[in-house]
Symmetry: C2
Subunit: 138 residues, 2 copies
């Protein structure tokens, strides 16, 4: 089916994203970075591989605003990302994990009172971070 084989290329892509937990990359960037590292992986393979990793729940796909291409980021299991929300600054692209008692109750509230099961691995809240909010007067 999917992800049956554990190929060299899959390990390389997964490994690269795992080493850069706090960053998001496009398929083109992933392919480029691996090439620079001396372990090139074809762009087509990167597209197919991150797709698989996304379905496996290991990688988050961000189709937001900053880049016109989709970006991918490894989901750190230790951070328990499925339990909290995420923010992304529209200006500088900073990605923030919202671990916080108050907000942890939001998912539950929405589930109980609004009968909707939020998927935190697919949801990102956009806005402006502290620094950018200050610097952008408009």
């Amino acid at each position: 089916m999917n992800g049956t084989y554990n190929t060299r290329q899959k390990k390389l892509i997964e490994g690269f994203l795992k080493e850069n937990l706090s960053s998001q990359y496009t398929c083109d960037e992933i392919s480029e970075m691996l090439k620079q590292k001396g372990t090139p992986v074809g762009k087509t393979t990167v597209y197919r591989c991150v797709e698989r990793l996304t379905h496996e729940g290991k990688v988050r796909k961000i189709v937001g605003v900053a880049s016109k291409s989709a970006q991918y980021q490894y989901i750190d299991e230790e951070m328990n990302c499925s339990g909290h929300m995420h923010l992304k600054c529209l200006n500088c692209g900073e990605f923030i994990h919202l671990g916080c008692d108050f907000l942890d109750g939001v998912n539950e509230h929405i589930y109980i009172h609004h009968r909707f099961k939020i998927d935190n691995s697919k949801s990102v809240l956009y806005g402006l971070c502290d620094k950018c909010s200050d610097s952008i007067q408009e």
Copy 2:
């Protein structure tokens, strides 16, 4: 600058989205629908027009998951969408406005405690609605 002229095409696009407040459409769909109505508007113009409308704050751009193309939806002023969050079902595409006292405090909490200004017109939470959650056993 932008939106200086009130052209026939702009009125048609704005009118169509206004008549379908609860739905989202891609540029292609908008162009197609207007053609079927006997009032065709070129696809290029649709792209440029919704872009303008988005900047004017009249239309919400949804770059989410359901469609590979960006979708656009008229922002109903009476609903005061900037004050609440939105949900979109990954399965059926239903779009839900979350007007609720508890959740209205979320933006404020995030602003005060996490120093981040959420833009509700650009943020959508994804997950599964009640019906789809039941029907999808997997």
